[in-house]
C-alpha cells in the first residue's frame, strides 16, 4: 500500500537518518543496499515510513541487482546499479 503524505515524527526521522547513514557509509554498495532494504522493510512494518511508488520501484530494482548467491556471484555492474538506486532511495525518503 502506498501513501502520498510523508510520515512525520521521531520514528520517521530516525528511520530516514539511519537509511541515509547506511547509504553514506563507507563500504561496498551491494552490502549497503542489502542493509537499506532490511531497514526500510522494518520501517514499513513499524509504520515509521510509508511506501511510495518511487521507493517501491527502487526496492524492486535493488532486489534484481542483488540476485545471486553472494557478492562475488554478481555481475560487475551490480555495485554501480546499487549506488545509483541508493541515490534514488535517498531522494525518495522525504516523501515516505
Amino acid at each position: 500500500m502506498t501513501s502520498t503524505s510523508p510520515t512525520l515524527g521521531a520514528a520517521a526521522d530516525q528511520a530516514r537518518a539511519e537509511v541515509r547513514g547506511l547509504i553514506a557509509g563507507k563500504g561496498h554498495a551491494v552490502d549497503a543496499a542489502r542493509l537499506v532494504i532490511e531497514r526500510l522493510e522494518r520501517a514499513f512494518v513499524a509504520s515509521a515510513l510509508h511506501r511510495t511508488p518511487a521507493l517501491d520501484q527502487a526496492l524492486r530494482d535493488l532486489s534484481l541487482v542483488l540476485v545471486g548467491e553472494d557478492r562475488t556471484a554478481l555481475g560487475g555492474k551490480s555495485p554501480e546499479a546499487a549506488r545509483l538506486i541508493l541515490r534514488a532511495v535517498d531522494r525518495a525518503l522525504d516523501e515516505a
Binding site: 540476485v67 555481475g75 546499479a81 534514488a88
Partner: protein
Amino acid sequence: MLDRLMGGRRLTSEQKGRVPPGQYVTEKFPVLHYGSVPQTDLGAWDFRVWGEVENPFSLDWTVFQALPHTSVHTDIHCVTRWSKLDVDFAGVPIRAILDLAQPKPAARYVVAHCEKGYTTNLPLEVLADDDVLLADTYAGQPLAPEHGFPLRLFVPKRYFWKSAKWLRGLEFLAADSPGFWERYGYHNDGDPWQEERFSE
C-alpha cells in the same frame, strides 16, 4: 598511449574515425551486467510482442529460429568507454518483427523486457533502423550465456546497454517509459557520437 594501456591497439586513421569521443578500442569483449547470468531453458523460452500493435504475438524458440535471419558487420560502443570494431552479429532483423507486429500509429516508443526484470527504452524510429537485430549469434556462434544467450537486442548506433541481453519481449508504447539504467541516471537516448552517457 591510453588506448594501449587499456588493452587497445594501434588504429588506422579510418578506424580512428569510427571511434566516438571518449572511447578506447579493445579487442576483448567485456562482460558487464548486474545480478547473475540467467540459465535459459530453450524449451520453456518464449518471446512476446505486445502493447500498441495490431498483432500482439508470442513465439517459441523453434518458431523464432524459422524467421528470416541476417548478419550485421559494424562497431559497438559501451558507456563504460570501450569500443569494439568490426563485430559480426546475426539474428532476426527488427523489420521482420515489425512486419509481424504491425505497430499502431500511436506507437512511438518501445521498451525491451529481459530476464531478471531488466528493461531499456528506445524510440520506435531508432529501433526500426536497418542495422537493428534480435541477435542470436556473435562471430558465427550462438551467444555465450554472459553475452545474452539465447537472444539479445542489437542496436549498434546506441551505447551497448541499449542492446539488452537475455531479451524476452518488446512492448510498444505511445509514451516514453525509462528503462532500468535510464531510471537511475543513464541518458535516455544514449547516442555515443553525442556522448550521451548520463542524464545527471
